[in-house]
């Protein structure tokens, strides 16, 4: 696996969806290429930041709206 092949698969590497063979090739490449390793690590770091976005409660119960509109066409 070369650098451009590795970069194309970073996303799948992070998602754990690479095949066993590709995963092994990726591991070998990352061990030998500091640039790709840093690239992959920073991608992982930014995903961690994104995942820090917290979910919040819905501001109201949407059932009420549907029940009120229920008389209309469906």
């Amino acid at each position: 696996m070369n650098c451009s092949e590795a970069k194309a698969f970073f996303s799948e590497q992070l998602d754990g969806t690479l095949s066993k063979k590709s995963r092994a090739a990726m591991r070998r490449h990352l061990e030998s290429c500091p640039n790709c390793r840093a690239d992959c690590e920073s991608l992982m770091k930014s995903l961690k930041i994104l995942k820090k976005l917290k979910e919040v409660d819905a501001p109201r119960d949407y059932r009420t709206t549907a029940s009120k509109k229920k008389g209309g066409k469906r």
Binding site: A8, F10, S11, E12, L14, D15, T17, S42, L43, K45, S46, L47, I49, L50, K51, K52, L53, K54, E55, V56, D57, A58, P59, R60, D61, Y62, R63, T65, A66, S67, K69, K70, K73, R74
Partner: protein
Amino acid sequence: MIGEPLEIELVEQAKQGDNEAFNHLFVREQRYLFNLMLQLTGDVAAADDLAQEAFWKAFRKMSSFRFEASFRTWLTKIAINIFRNEHRKKARHSTLCLEEIPVPADGDRPERVVIKSELQWCILHNLRYHLPKKYREVLVLRDLQNLSYKEISGVLGWSLSRTKTNLHRARRMFRGQFINGRCKAFTDDYLCICEGILSL
């Protein structure tokens, strides 16, 4: 002991006009749907309106549900279509990004202090203003809502390979704002100094 009713049973009943079954489905999904809309729009009021619209549309279209996907995936597809329609309307107006607002260079710079600890705000801001719609959609569905590649392909109407490519580009673009851009402080301690957000 009677457990929670199965989704398939609730959907069957809702398809036959059972409003109580539909309410059960609503309750299960309303937090998910509101947060999905919030992540896509970055705006609480808009998310509230769009979530309501999506539920109402789902309610009306329930009889067309074919069990080809889970109820949530089906609902997500409805939600994405509503978001896209809204986005098209809004695209006619220019959106105001704080990046374009010059903030005074001296004094206490309260804006900077307030925003400093607002990681949540910064993430939503970046999704809303710094990612094109298609990248925002795929990033939200995969990394915030944990849909599989296959589910995302179905919801967004993309091939599997297009989904993977766009996800890859979306992640790189999102990273660019925080790591290669001026928001570099994020990566060290998750504390936003907003150098990449405001023109300080």
